[in-house]
C-alpha cells in the first residue's frame, strides 16, 4: 500500500494489483490508468468547436421563453394568453392545459408543477411558455400574458413556517419530513461528560453558478421526441419527462450536449419539459430555449441553508463521548432531493470522529424561498462546518492543541462511523498527518508583517460516504464493443459535466483490454445509444460507472482472448492483449492485431461486445436510529490545512497557503484528480468567504454575477495537493472518487483558521470582511 506521498508517479507505480483484474498472470506497471493523459475533449474546448446547449441554436428555429411567477406565494385565479397569442410572430403559448401527461415533476416526490395551475410557491415557478419566431418576440409576448393572482402571505423563514397559523405552502403543511439518528444514549453521556461545548451555525443559500446557462433544443418528428439539454442523469430525466408529457419512454430520446459545469445544479428538471411540450405541440419544428443569468439564478434550486445546533461532550483528556445535533433545513418551496440531503447531513453528523453516543434530529421545512436541492457536498458540507467548528471550541475549552484533539478522536480502520457502519480501511489519520507535515504544524509561525494582521491556521478532516447509499438503488451500466477497425468503443449514459468522466472511462477501458488510449472511443450520454449509468453526483461515477466499464472491458477481453487463442491455436491462459494486439506471452511472435480479431470474430459469429453492470447494494438506515451496517458502499477520507491572514481593521482575509490531501483509492488520471481537488477547494473558498444568495421578501436581490460574488483568480491561491492512493477493492483498479470531499473540507478549514487568527468564531456564512469585523468588534 502506498502511504502519504507527494509524487503521483511514485504512488502510481506502487500499485499494480488490481481489484477486478481478470487474468491471473497479470501484474506489472499500468500503461494508461494512473497516467495524466490529456483530456480527450480538450481540443474542441480550446478551439471553440465544442457544442454546449446554446451552441446548438440556429436562427431558423423557434424560440421559447418562460413566464415566471410574479409573487413568491399566490393563488392563480386565471391565465389569459389571448393577447400574447395574437402578437405577430408568436407561434404558441402554453399553459398547464398544454402539458399532455401529468403536470408534475420532482426527483423524490413529484410535487412541482411544470406549469403552475393553481398556485405559485416561489418566484421561479413557471406559469406559461411562449414560442415565437425570434427570442425578442417571445420576450415581448411574455409581457402580454395576463395572470390574475391572489397574493398569499409569504412564508420566508423556518420560524414563520412552523407557526401554528402559518399559511400552508403545500396541502399537507410546511414540514417536508424528519430524520433521526439514535446511537447510544447521547443525553446521558452528555450529562456525564466532563466538558461540554455548544454552538449554533447558520450556513447560507449558495448557487451553483455554473457558467453554461441552461439552454437546449427539442424536436418531435412524429415518431421520436429528441431533447438536447444538459442534465446529470439522462435516464431518470427521461422517465420524469415522459410522465409529464404522457409519452412512452421509447418515443423519447435525451442527448446531452457538452456541459459547462453542474455541481448538482442540473439534477432537477430544468427546461426539458418546456421544450418537450412545445415540440410535441409543434410537430416537426425545432424549438430552442435559453435562460439569462438572472433567470437561471432565480429559477434553479439552491444549496440548503441549514441551521445547526451542535452540542459536543468529551472527557477531560479530549476523548469525545457524546454529540447532540439538531439540523433545521430550509427546504424552500419544493421537495427536490431535500430528504436525501437531510439524511446525508445526519449520517455525516460526526464526520471523521469516533463518537459512541450520537443523537441527531433533522427537520426539513418548506418556505417560499428557492427550492433547495443537490449541490456538491449535499448536506455534508454544511455538517462539516459545524463539527469542525465545535472541535475547535472544544480544543479551546480544554486548552488543547486542536490538531491533537482531532487526532485523538479520528476514526481508524475497523471503527464505526456516525451510522454505525464499520469502515474497514480508514485513512483519516494518514491524510491528516500528511497535511500537518507539509505545513510543519509544530513549527508554525504567527509572526506577521504588521500588527493589524493576524495569522491563523485551520484544519479539517473529511469522511464522506460515496454513492447514494441508504438502500437506494444505485447502478451503472456500460457496454464495450470492438469495431472492424480495431477501435474499442465504450458506451455509457454517464454525463461528463466537466469533471473528466470521459477520460476516466476511456483510460479504464484501455487499460483493462490492453489497447492504447488513442484506440478508445467513448460514446456518452445518449439514451438511444448508451446504457443507464446513474447520475453524475454523489461522487459516484468513478466507483460505479468506472467499475461497470471495467467489467464490460474485462468481459470483452475474455471474448477477444478466446477468439485469438482458438485462431492461433494457443492456450487461452497464455494469451495477453497489450498495445492493441493479442499474443502468446511465451512466444510473442504468435500474435493477432485487434483488427484481425475483429474480422475473424465477426466471421465466426462472435458479438465482439460485452456489457458490464455494477450495482453493489447498500442497506437502508433504520428510520428510528439512522443506523445501518452498510449505509454507503465505501468512504472517502481527506484532510486540509489552511494558513491565512486576517486584516483586523477591515476583516479581509488573505489565504497564504492551502494544502489538501485526499485518498482517492487510485488516481485513474492524476492530473484530473488534482484538477478536481483544486476546483472543489475554490468552490469551498467561495462558500466560506463570499458567496451568498440574498433573498428579500422571497426575491433574489443578487441574481447576477456583479453581486453574486464568485472567486476570481486573485481569490484562489496555489492549492498544494497530496493525492493518496489506498485502493478500495470495490472500485475500478482500486479507485474510489474525489468530486465532493475537496469542497467539504474547505469551509471548515478556513473558518478554523479565522477562529485561530481572531479568537472568536464566525457562526454565520459567508465569513465576509464585514462579518469578521463585527465578530472582532463584539468580542
Amino acid at each position: 500500500m502506498s502511504g502519504p506521498t507527494d509524487t503521483l508517479e511514485e504512488s502510481a507505480s506502487h500499485l499494480h494489483v488490481t481489484a477486478k483484474s481478470s487474468a491471473a498472470y497479470e501484474t506489472g506497471p499500468m500503461k494508461v490508468v494512473g497516467k495524466s493523459a490529456l483530456r480527450l475533449d480538450a481540443l474542441g474546448k480550446a478551439t471553440g468547436a465544442t457544442k454546449y446547449g446554446q451552441d446548438l441554436f440556429d436562427k431558423k428555429f423557434l424560440f421559447a421563453k418562460v413566464l415566471r411567477a410574479a409573487y413568491p406565494h399566490a393563488e392563480i385565479l386565471g391565465i389569459d394568453t389571448r393577447k400574447a397569442k395574437k402578437l405577430p410572430g408568436v407561434v404558441a403559448v402554453l399553459t398547464h392545459k398544454d402539458i399532455p401527461g401529468t403536470n408534475l415533476h420532482g426527483l423524490i416526490r413529484r410535487d412541482q408543477e411544470v406549469l403552475c395551475s393553481k398556485k405559485v410557491r416561489y418566484m421561479g415557478d413557471a406559469v406559461a411558455v411562449v414560442v415565437a419566431k425570434t427570442e425578442e418576440i417571445a420576450v415581448a409576448a411574455l409581457k402580454q400574458i395576463q395572470v390574475d393572482y391572489r397574493p398569499l402571505p409569504s412564508v420566508l423563514t423556518m420560524e414563520d413556517a412552523l407557526k401554528v397559523d402559518a399559511p400552508k405552502i403545500h396541502a399537507e403543511g410546511n414540514v417536508l419530513g424528519e430524520k433521526h439518528l439514535r446511537r447510544g444514549d447521547a443525553p446521558r453521556a452528555m450529562r456525564e461528560a466532563e466538558v461540554v461545548v455548544e454552538d449554533t451555525i447558520q450556513t447560507q443559500t449558495v448557487d451553483h453558478a455554473f457558467l453554461d446557462l441552461e439552454a437546449g433544443r427539442a424536436r418531435y418528428d412524429g415518431k421520436m421526441l429528441t431533447i438536447e439539454v444538459s442534465g446529470q442523469w439522462l435516464h431518470e430525466e427521461r422517465r420524469l419527462i415522459a410522465l409529464a408529457l404522457g409519452l412512452p419512454l421509447e418515443k423519447l430520446r435525451i442527448i446531452q450536449p457538452a456541459t459547462g459545469g453542474a455541481f448538482g445544479g442540473r439534477e432537477d428538471i430544468s427546461i426539458q419539459i418546456y421544450l418537450g411540450a412545445a415540440a410535441l405541440k409543434l410537430k416537426g419544428k425545432m424549438i430552442c430555449l435559453r435562460y439569462s443569468r438572472s433567470e437561471s439564478t432565480i429559477v434553479r434550486h439552491k444549496r440548503h441553508p441549514i441551521r445547526v445546533h451542535y452540542k459536543l461532550g468529551a472527557k477531560k483528556d479530549g476523548t469525545l463521548v457524546a454529540a447532540q445535533i439538531t439540523f433545521y433545513v430550509d427546504k424552500g418551496a419544493y421537495a427536490s432531493t431535500g430528504i436525501a440531503v437531510m439524511r446525508k447531513a445526519s449520517s455525516h453528523a460526526t464526520g471523521p470522529y469516533k463518537v459512541p453516543n450520537v443523537w441527531v434530529d433533522v427537520l426539513g421545512v418548506f418556505t417560499n424561498n428557492n427550492p433547495c436541492g443537490a449541490m456538491r457536498g449535499f448536506g455534508a458540507a454544511q455538517t462539516a462546518i459545524a463539527y469542525e467548528g465545535l472541535m475547535d471550541r472544544l480544543a479551546t475549552k480544554l486548552g488543547m492543541d486542536k490538531a491533537e484533539l482531532r487526532r485523538k478522536n479520528l476514526v481508524k480502520s475497523g471503527d464505526e462511523v456516525t451510522t454505525g457502519q464499520v469502515v474497514p480501511y480508514a485513512t483519516a489519520t494518514e491524510c491528516f498527518d500528511a497535511v500537518l507535515k507539509k505545513i510543519d504544524w509544530k513549527n508554525r509561525s504567527y509572526e506577521t508583517p504588521a500588527p493589524h494582521l493576524k495569522r491563523g491556521y485551520g484544519i479539517s478532516i473529511v469522511c464522506f460516504g460515496l454513492g447514494y447509499g441508504d438502500g437506494f438503488p444505485d447502478a451503472s451500466r456500460a457496454r464495450c464493443r470492438l469495431t472492424a477497425d480495431g477501435i474499442l468503443e465504450v458506451y455509457s449514459a454517464a454525463c461528463d459535466v466537466g469533471q473528466g468522466l470521459i477520460n476516466m472511462i476511456a483510460q479504464i477501458a484501455a487499460e483493462e483490454v490492453g489497447v492504447p488510449l488513442e484506440k478508445v472511443r467513448p460514446i456518452l450520454s445518449d439514451t438511444a445509444l448508451t446504457p443507464e449509468s446513474g447520475s453524475s453526483s454523489a461522487t459516484r461515477q468513478t466507483y460505479f460507472t468506472g467499475s461497470a466499464v471495467h467489467i464490460a472491458a474485462s468481459e470483452l477481453k475474455k471474448q477477444l482472448q478466446d477468439i485469438a487463442a482458438s485462431h492461433l491455436e494457443e492456450l487461452v491462459y497464455e494469451i495477453k492483449i497489450a498495445d492493441g494486439a493479442a499474443f502468446n506471452i511465451h512466444r510473442p511472435e504468435r500474435r493477432m492485431t485487434l483488427k484481425e480479431i475483429a474480422r475473424v470474430g465477426k466471421k465466426r459469429g462472435f458479438s465482439l461486445e460485452a456489457m458490464g453492470v455494477y450495482k453493489p447494494p447498500t442497506m437502508p438506515e433504520n428510520t428510528q436510529t439512522g443506523q445501518s451496517m452498510r449505509a454507503f458502499v465505501t468512504y472517502l477520507f481527506g484532510s486540509h490545512v489552511c494558513q491565512l491572514l486576517v486584516d483586523t481593521e477591515t476583516g479581509e482575509v488573505k489565504i497564504e497557503r492551502y494544502i489538501a490531501c485526499h485518498d482517492v483509492g487510485k488516481a485513474i488520471n492524476p492530473d484530473q484528480v488534482i484538477g478536481q481537488i483544486q476546483g472543489g477547494v475554490a468552490q469551498g473558498i467561495g462558500m466560506a468567504l463570499m458567496e451568498e444568495v440574498v433573498m428579500k421578501d422571497g426575491r433574489i436581490m443578487n441574481p447576477g454575477f456583479t453581486d453574486y460574488i464568485l472567486p476570481t483568480i486573485r481569490d484562489v491561491p496555489e492549492i498544494e495537493c497530496i493525492v493518496m492512493e489506498n485502493p478500495d477493492p470495490g472500485g475500478p483498479f482500486g479507485a474510489r472518487g474525489v468530486g465532493e470531499p475537496p469542497l467539504i473540507g474547505t469551509g471548515p478549514a478556513i473558518l478554523s483558521a479565522i477562529y485561530d487568527a481572531i479568537g472568536t468564531p464566525i457562526r454565520e456564512l459567508p465569513a465576509t470582511p464585514e462579518r469578521i469585523w463585527r465578530a472582532l468588534l463584539n468580542r
Binding site: S36, L38, R39, D41, A42, L43, G44, K45, A46, T47, G48, A49, T50, K51, Y52, Q54, D55, F57, D58, K59, A209, F210, L211, D212, L213, A258, T259, G260, G261, F263, S292, R293, V497, G498, Q499, G500, D671, Q672, I674, G675, I677, Q678, G679, G680, V681, A682, Q683, G704, F705, T706, L710, T712, I713, R714, V716, E718, I719
Partner: protein
C-alpha cells in the same frame, strides 16, 4: 463558419456592417441593437465565444478587437465597424494550435471548458502586450475571467508555460 446572412433591406434601420473577422472581411447588414456576442454566435455560427453572465463580470464572452480584449456581451455590433476582431476560432492557423491553446490542453487547464475560450484570449492579449509578465501582471491580465471548475492553478501554469515557450522563440 456560416456565411453571413444578408438581411433584407426593408428598413433603413439596419446597419451596414463592415469589419475583419479572424482575418476575413465581413460585409453584411445587421440590426444595430444586437450585441456582438449574439451576432457572432447566432448570425455567423461562431459559437466558440460564450455568454454566461451578460454583465461583463465573467470574461467568457471575450473577443479581441484590434488586439484588445473586450466583453462582446456589452458591445453592439456596429461598434466593430472597420475593426479587426479575433475570436477563439481565429487563433489556430492551418490546424496548428496557438501556443496558449496547446498549453491549456497540456497543463490540464480545461475541465468543463466553458471559460476556456475567454481565458485563452485574455492570455493572448496579455502576452502580446507583455511577453514576460510577473506573477502580479498575470493576475491582472486574468482577473476578468471566472472559472468555476479548475481553481485557476492549472490555468496560471498554462499561461506561464505559454509565455516561457513564446519567449524561447524570440531571437
Amino acid at each position: 463558419m456560416k456565411k453571413p446572412v444578408k438581411a433584407k433591406s426593408t428598413s433603413n434601420s439596419l446597419w451596414p456592417l463592415r469589419f475583419k473577422l479572424n482575418g476575413k472581411k465581413i460585409s453584411t447588414k445587421v440590426p444595430p441593437t444586437r450585441t456582438l456576442l449574439d451576432f457572432l454566435r447566432l448570425e455567423l455560427g461562431l459559437t466558440g465565444t460564450k455568454g454566461a453572465c451578460l454583465e461583463g463580470e465573467c470574461g467568457s464572452c471575450y473577443v479581441l478587437v484590434d488586439g484588445k480584449p473586450m466583453n462582446s456581451c456589452l458591445m453592439l455590433v456596429p461598434q466593430v465597424q472597420d475593426c479587426k476582431v479575433t475570436t477563439i476560432e481565429g487563433l489556430a492557423h492551418n490546424k496548428k494550435l496557438d501556443v496558449i491553446q496547446q498549453k491549456f490542453i497540456d497543463c490540464g487547464a480545461v475541465q468543463c471548458g466553458y471559460c476556456t475560450p475567454g481565458l485563452i484570449l485574455a492570455a493572448k492579449a496579455l502576452l502580446a502586450e507583455n511577453p514576460h509578465p510577473t506573477h502580479e501582471e498575470f493576475l491582472t491580465g486574468m482577473e476578468g475571467n471566472i472559472c468555476r471548475c479548475t481553481g485557476y492553478n492549472k490555468i496560471l501554469r498554462a499561461c506561464e508555460q505559454a509565455a516561457d515557450e513564446m519567449g524561447l522563440k524570440k531571437p
